[in-house]
């Protein structure tokens, strides 16, 4: 389960499109779509490249897993059942160092709610969801 007390993350349900992404997560690797035509990363995955519109040149590319905290808020009254026992809980946006136009969500395990160092560096980790499926998470760099 999550290292955040009380948190029961809804488990991602892989689709034909996203199966390789979630399989990689289970191997503790973060892979993003990359259009070899545009040399452009894409996340979350979609059927076609947002830029050139073609689905023929999309490959899965492993990224390094370093990012920075852009902004955050604190969830205090979630409508999502699995989050209510974990409140208050951070909700941060992480930009990927390799391409800051790519962003991820994070609850910042290990960072007390509301005490988020905006602009700080974070590193990729993985956390378990209810089905055992791993999801990518981020925590403050050592």
């Amino acid at each position: 389960m999550s290292t955040i007390p009380g948190l029961e993350r809804p488990a991602p349900v892989p689709s034909d499109l996203t199966q390789p992404f979630w399989d990689a997560c289970n191997e503790r690797r973060l892979v993003l779509q990359n259009c070899t035509n545009c040399q452009r990363l894409q996340y979350p995955p979609t059927q076609r490249c947002d830029q050139c519109g073609s689905g023929d040149n999309l490959e899965w590319k492993e990224v390094e897993g370093k990012g920075h905290i852009d902004v955050y808020m604190v969830i205090r009254d979630s409508r999502i059942r699995g989050f209510r026992a974990a409140q208050p809980i951070n909700f941060a946006v992480i930009t990927l160092d390799e391409d800051p136009g790519i962003n991820f969500l994070s609850n910042l395990p290990g960072t007390p709610p509301g005490e988020v160092p905006v602009g700080a560096q974070v590193e990729l980790i993985f956390e378990e969801t209810s089905t055992g499926q791993l999801v990518h998470e981020w925590q403050g760099a050592a």
Binding site: A11, V13, Y72, M73, R76, R79, I80, N107, V118, S130
Partner: protein
């Protein structure tokens, strides 16, 4: 079909709208408004309130049932749940139709309309739906369209009965957001963008207080509003600054109150509008945005560009510019995104990053910058229709205690969010 975007004016380069000034809004009706439906009083159900709003709109326009040949509505009533599994009632309340939405067929049958040629029950939410109605009349799909938008709020805590929020699984695209606590709807991404806005321009959440207080004031000047009817007192700055935190820094007073109500409007041709009861209010253009950001969360820059593009489309299609808009009623469902509209349309010269200073100046209806004279959804309850009805009333000169003292010859209104919306440019004159 909702997915059919061919009628939309959602791209730049389309030029003047081909029906500019040839379509008019000639009627408006607002039903009673409650916090929730009690599940008992059928006149106050979605269907009951829809009938009330439609009949009021007809009376306002001075039209009869036989004059209506088009019916347009949306099923996006934000009910967040179905009436089922609760038991249905006797006809016509024996399905969801009439309880969580009200279809064209339902209204046609219940009002006994005889001359309907055009029926559309799956229009998008009210912002783009108003554009769709203007386009349908302009294109001749019907001459006189009755257009209604119910908002449905049933028993239970809002959003908590939404099945997605109670599932242990995150299917489809939600797999990339729900596991981290992202909630569907406009709250989260726009709050993220608000934080980016504050970071970029050195602003804070407190800067929304003046907007909130003025919206409540305008809402209390609106006789039918939720607050005028049910909670008729003004908020204080202390109330706002100490508001219950929902998702920090968002407080309860930033969120428009879900309500149970219906509004109806009547669109017709400029020709037909000439000799009706109300002075016609002409449509000069409609424009829409529908897009998403590049990655998980859209960014401030993406939403600023989205509104800037929306503004360019509106100027291009209407022939007006930023200095020509007298009344401005953009969406305020969460107060955190309203500044993007104000700055993107450059209303009263407001530039990027200046909205909170503008709010702190004089935005009262009797002042020189009567922003959101409707009271918005924050001040009247989440009808979404108030943005359009206030615009009509201001141009007609019938806004009562809310009537602005500045010139009121043109009005710009629309919803919902910077990246996904539909706006209408209205005018007292057809050209």
């Amino acid at each position: 079909m909702v997915s059919d975007r061919s009628w939309m004016r959602d791209r730049e380069g389309l030029g003047l709208w081909e029906h500019r000034g040839k379509v008019a809004v000639v009627g408006w009706g607002q039903s009673h408004i409650d916090r929730r439906w009690d599940g008992v009083t059928m006149d106050r159900s979605c269907g009951g309130l829809t009938k009330e709003a439609c009949l009021k709109a007809l009376a306002d326009a001075g039209l009869s049932l036989d004059d209506i040949d088009g019916l347009i509505t949306s099923a996006e009533t934000r009910a967040e749940q179905t009436w089922a599994p609760r038991p249905y009632f006797d006809p016509p309340y024996d399905t969801e139709d009439g309880l969580t939405f009200t279809s064209a067929d339902w209204i046609e049958r219940e009002l006994g309309l005889k001359n309907i040629q055009y029926r559309k029950s799956d229009a998008p939410y009210i912002g783009p739906m108003m554009g769709l109605a203007a386009q349908a009349v302009g294109d001749g799909l019907c001459e006189t369209a009755l257009v209604w938008y119910p908002m449905v709020n049933l028993a239970g805590r809002y959003g908590h009965n939404n099945p997605q929020n109670n599932s242990p699984e995150a299917p489809g695209a939600s797999a990339f957001s729900l596991p981290w606590g992202y909630q569907n709807g406009a709250m989260f991404n726009n709050l993220v963008i608000f934080q980016q806005y504050c970071k970029k321009y050195g602003k804070s959440h407190d800067g929304l207080a003046d907007l909130c207080l003025n919206l409540r004031r305008n809402g209390l000047l609106t006789p039918w509003s939720y607050y005028a009817l049910h909670e008729p007192y003004q908020l204080t700055r202390e109330d706002y600054l100490n508001g219950r935190v929902i998702e920090e820094p968002l407080v309860i007073y930033d969120c428009d109150r879900p309500v149970n109500t219906c509004a109806a409007f009547i669109f017709t041709t400029a020709e037909r509008a000439k000799d009706l009861r109300q002075k016609p209010i002409y449509v000069l253009n409609h424009a829409q945005n529908g897009g998403r950001g590049r990655s998980t969360m859209a960014t401030l820059e993406e939403h600023q560009e989205a509104v800037a593009s929306l503004a360019r489309k509106m100027w291009e299609g209407s022939g007006l510019g930023p200095d020509d808009v007298d009344i401005f009623n953009p969406y305020d469902g969460y107060l955190t995104f309203t500044q993007q509209f104000l700055e993107g349309f450059q209303w009263h010269g407001v530039k990027w990053g200046e909205a909170h200073d503008f709010y702190a100046d004089d935005i009262r209806v009797e002042g020189s910058h009567p922003f959101l004279s409707s009271g918005g959804n924050n001040g009247t309850g989440r009808t979404r229709s108030c943005l359009f009805s206030d615009s009509l009333e201001q141009l007609r000169g019938t806004a009562g205690a809310r009537q602005v003292t500045v010139k009121a010859e043109t009005a710009l209104a629309g919803c919902n969010t910077p990246d996904s919306n539909g706006f209408l440019m209205l005018s007292k004159e057809p050209d």
